[in-house]
Amino acid sequence: MAKIEIEIDGKLVNARAGEMLIAVTDRESISVPRFCYHKKLSISANCRMCLVDVEGAPKPQPACSTPIADGMKIHTQNEKAKASQKAVMEFLLINHPLDCPICDQGGECELQDVAMDYGSDVSRFTEGKRIVADSDIGALIQTDMTRCIHCTRCVRFGAEIAGIMEMGGTGRGEDMKIEPFLTEGIQSELSGNMIDVCPVGALTSKPFRYELRSWQMNSMSNIARHDLVGSNIYTQTYKGKVKRIVARDNDDTNETWISDRDRFSYEGLAHENRLLAPQIKVEGEWKEVEWNVALDFATRGLGNSVLNNHQSDQLGALASNTATLEEFHLLQKILRELGSENIDHRLNVKNLNSPIALDSNVKLVNLENMDHALIIGSYTRLEQPMVNHRLRKASLKGATVDVINAMEFDFNYSINSENIIAPNKVVATLAGVLKVVLESKQQELPDYLTSVKTDDVITELAEKLLAEGQSVIVLGEHVINNDSAASIANLITNIAKQTKSSTLNLSASGNSMAANLSGFVPGKGGLDVNAMLESELKAYILLDVYPHYDFHHSIKAIDALNKDGAFIISLNSFKDKDVANYSDVMLPISCFYETSGSHVNIEGEIQSFTASVSAPSDTKPAWKVLKVLADLLELPGFHYADSAQVTSEITHQSHKSHVHDENIDLTTKQGIQIIWQKSPYAVDALSRHAISLQATKIGQMNSASMNKATAKKLEMTQGDEYLGVPAIISETVANNCVFVNANRSTQAGGQS
C-alpha cells in the first residue's frame, strides 16, 4: 500500500493508505481510548469511545473504522474530540454498576482506567440502573452481565477465532443482552480468551474469583507445556502460588490466544494430591524422610540392584512427556554414564518396533498460508488447539482441509472430505494416495504399490495434494495406536516428497520434541519401553510417570513394574496409587511453573523459562534432584549451577540424526481396532488435577464410542463399561473400531 503522510495532533506521521486510524495512533503511542476495538478481531465501531475529530468531517469519526487518506488532519484531543469521548464515557457509565471495589476486574479494568481520564466525578444519572440476570455458563467463566458494556469482543472472538459463535447479542436497545444462545454453557476449548478480551468485569475467571487484585500479584513470563506449541503465558503469582494464567503475545506461536488447558491447568498445582515429601519404602511401609536420606536410599538401592553387580543394562529410565528439556537431558545422561541405553519417553505408543519418523517442516505462522491440508488421525481442535487455530485461519482464507479419521469430529472450519475409516485401513488408503501421486507423475511404482487398490476417494485425496498451491500433511496423535504407525509415517514422507507438501508431526505431544532433542530414546543395544517391561529389569528411574494414563499397555506395565525384585525410584509431582505400589523411593518434584527449564515446540524452537514460584513444601525441581543423584552416584560432568547451563550443554552438543527404518509394510491385522486416547484435559497430571477444567464438558470426555455393528460384535449396549469407560453407540465411528477417550484412571487402561 502506498505510503502517505497524515497529521495527528499537529505531528506529521507516516502511514499506509487505507490503514485504520487507530492502528496508526497505536503505533505512534498516541493514546486513543477504546473498548470494542481489538487488534485481532474484526472492527465493530460500536462503543464510540475512539471518536476523534477529522478535519473536514462534520461529525466526529471513530478512529477504529476510519481509513486514513493522504493529508488527513486529525485531532484526538481537541475540544470536539474530547466532548465526544466524554459523552460516550458518560453513557457507558450510567448503567454500569460502579461497584469497582467488589468487582473482580477492579484494577485491571479498561473502563475504570479510561474513566479516570474521561469520566466525570459526579453522575447526572438519577434513574434506576439496568440489572441483568446472570446464567451459569460453565466452570471457567464467571459472568456478571450487569457490568457488560456491549462491546461484543467476546461475541466476535467466538465467531471469528474460536469458530463457535457461543455468545451473541439478544434483544434490542437497552435490553440487548450478551449471552450464550444455548443453555449448556460455553464449550469452546479457547473460551478463556473471552476473559482476556472482555474490557470490564462482565466475564472474569471463575477459578480466580474473589482471590486477589491484579496489583497484588507478580506477573512472570512462562511457557505452557501441555502441547506442541508452547504457548507464551504470564503466570500471575502471589506469595509463592500461581493464582492465574493469562496469554502473552507472541505472533510466532500463540498470537494473543491460549487454550483453556494452558490457562486453567495451574489449579492442579494446589491440589491436595501433590506429593510433597520424600518417602522411602521400609518393609513394605512408606516412611517420610529427609531428602538426604531418600537420595542415599535411592543410590544405595541402585547400587544393590544393578550397579554393584555390573548389571547396568538392567537399569531403565522412563519419562512422561511433561518433563523439561533439561530433565530429559540429565536423566539420559545419568543412564548413559552408568552404561545403560534403556531410555524411553514414548510410553503411550502401541508399536515401537520402528519409530514414527516424520519430520515437521512448517512454521506455525506459515500454516495459515496453506492452500490445502490433509489431517490424518487427529482431532486437532481439542488436541492441539493453537495448531488448529492456524489451520482454521488457513481454511477461512480458502484452504481446503481433508481428514482421515476413525471418527467424525466437530472441527471449527469446513472439511472438504471427511474420510472415516478404521485404523487398519489408513495404511492402504495412504498407499493408494502415493500410488495415484506416482502414477500422475509417471514414475515407476515400487513393488509394494503394484497391487494397491485405488478409488475415487483416494484419487481425490491425491489430487488435492498434487494441485497447485502449498499443502501440508498433518499426522496426529491417534496414529500411536496404530500397528502400522511407522509405515504410515513413511508413506506420508514419500507422498509429501512427491507432492512438495509440508509435513507436521503431531503424534507425540507435550514436551516430546525436547525428549527427542535430548536423545531420550533407546541408544544402540538399548531397550524401548515395551521391551524394558517385558525383560523385567532390575531397576528403574521413572520421571513423572503415572502408569494408568501414560502407558499404552498400562496393565502390562503396572504388572511388570510390580514384579518383585525391581528397585524403582519414582520422581513425581502428584501422588499415585500404582506408583506407591511399585516404587521403593518417591521423590517429590516441582511441577509446571515451579521450575526453570525449556520447552521445545513443533518448530524445534527452544523456549526457556524460569520458575515463576519456588517449589512448594519439600519438593525440588527435577533437574536439581537428578543432578544431586548423579553427584551421589559419583558421575562426572554434572557440575551445573543452574538449569541454563544444562540447556547450553544441550544446544552445543551435536545431535545424532536418528536412523529411520524406511520400510513400508501394508499388511494389517484384522478385527476390531481400538484407538485409546487420553481425553484433552487428561493429557498430563497437572491438567488432570485442575478441577475447573475437569468440570467442563471437554474435561468430562470419558467414553468408548463405537457404531451399532461394532457394539453388536462386542455385545455392548449404550452405557456398558468397555475397557473401564462407558460405551457410547454412535454411527460417527468407523466400522470395526472403538474410539476411547479416557479422562480418569481406570482398571483397564490401554491395551494391545
Binding site: N46, S65, S84, N95, E127, I149, R172, G173, E174
Partner: protein, 422 residues
Amino acid sequence: MNEVCFKTLDQKKSWSLKTYEANGGYSVWRKILKGELTPDQIIDELKTSGLRGRGGAGFPTGLKWSFMPRNADVQKYVVCNSDEGEPGTCKDRDILRYNPHSVIEGMAIGSFVMNATKGYNYIRGEFMEPFYRFEGALKEAYDAGLLGENLDGSSVSFDLYAHLGAGAYICGEETALLESLEGKKGQPRFKPPFPANIGLFGMPTTINNTESFASVPEILAQGGQWFADIGVENSGGCKLFSVTGHVNEPANFEVPMGIPFKDLLEMAGGIREGRTLKAVIPGGSSTPVLTADAAMAMTMDYDGIEKAGSMLGAGSVIIMDDTTCMVEALTRLAHFYYDESCGQCTPCREGTGWLYRVLKRIMDGNGKADDIDLLLGVQDKIIGNTICALGDAAAMPVESFLRNFRQEFEYYIEHGKSMVKG
C-alpha cells in the same frame, strides 16, 4: 395531483398489470429491453429531474446510481427499502398496495443502469396486505416476461424477490436492512464502506426508497425536465405527503414540491373539530417540530422546510392541535426511539433510555428544575456520535420540542401536571 406514483389510483384494480400498462407502464422497461436506452441516458434524465431520495435523506437519485461500479465483474444488487416505519409515514404502503408495478419497473430500470441482475424488495414486517399485493404483481410481471433471464431475447436479466421484515424500525436504516436481508440481526453497519462498494452479501448494492423507485418509470417516460418543472428549485417533481394527526381527513397526497403547507392542510380537511393548529412535525417523527406560525409560513420542499427549521424527511406531516400536551407527545416519541434502538452503539443504546426515563419522570410528577438542561445535554451528546441516524432521530425532537415549547415543560416540572390537559 397524483401524476406519478399514484397515477393509477382512481382506476379500477389500480394495482393490476393491465391497469398499469394501460397508463403507459413498462414502456420504459420495454425500450430498455429493445436496446433503445443506455444507462448514461437514464442517469442524465434522473439528474435533470431533480429526484431526491424519498426515504428521508434526500440524496439525489441520479447521482447515487452513478456511484455504482456497474462494470465490476461481480454480482451487484438493487434493493428497495419498503421498511416504512417512521411514525407518521404511510406512503410506501399505499404505493405497494395501489401501484406495485411502478416499484417493479423502477427497480428493473435501476438494475439495468447498475448492471445488477438481482433485486430485493424489503417490506416492513407488519405490511401483510402490501406484501401480498407486491407478490401478486411480481407473479404478473414474471408471467408477462417482464422479469427473469434474458428478457425478450435481450442480454438483460433481472430477478426480483420480495422479503418481509420482522418488525424492527431499525431495519429501515439501509445497512441494517442489508444485515437483516442476509439473515442476521438487524443492526446498522459502520460506514465507510458504503453499500455501493460493499453492500448485500458484500457486493455492490444500491438501496432506494419505494417512492424513489416508483417515480423513476414516469420520469423517464415523460422526461426529466417535465418532472423537474412540476416542483421547485432544488426539489424536483412531486412528492407524497402523508398528512396525519389532528386533521379531519388524514391521507396521502401526491402534490408538487413547493406547495404551501397551508394548502396541504386544507387538502386534509383542516384541523379537526375547528380547533387551532399548535405544532407540526413536517417530515416524520425524527424531524424537528415546528410551531404553528412557522409551519403556516412554509412551503413543502427541501429548502422551504429547512428554512422553517426542520426537514422534509419522508414527507410525513404530523399535525397537532391545541389539545396536544407537548410533554406527553415528546415522551411518547422518546419511548418509541428507546424501544426501537438496536442497542449496538453506546450513545443511542444508553441515551435513548435516559431521555425517555427523564421525560417519564416529569410525566409522573417528579420532574426536577434542571431536567430541561439535562435533556438538552443528553440529546446533544447523542447527536453525531452514533453509527447510524437513529441516534440523531431520537435526539432532534427533544431539542426542538424544548426549544419551541419550553414553557410547557417548565410548567409540568413545576406543577407536576400538564399545562394543556391539567
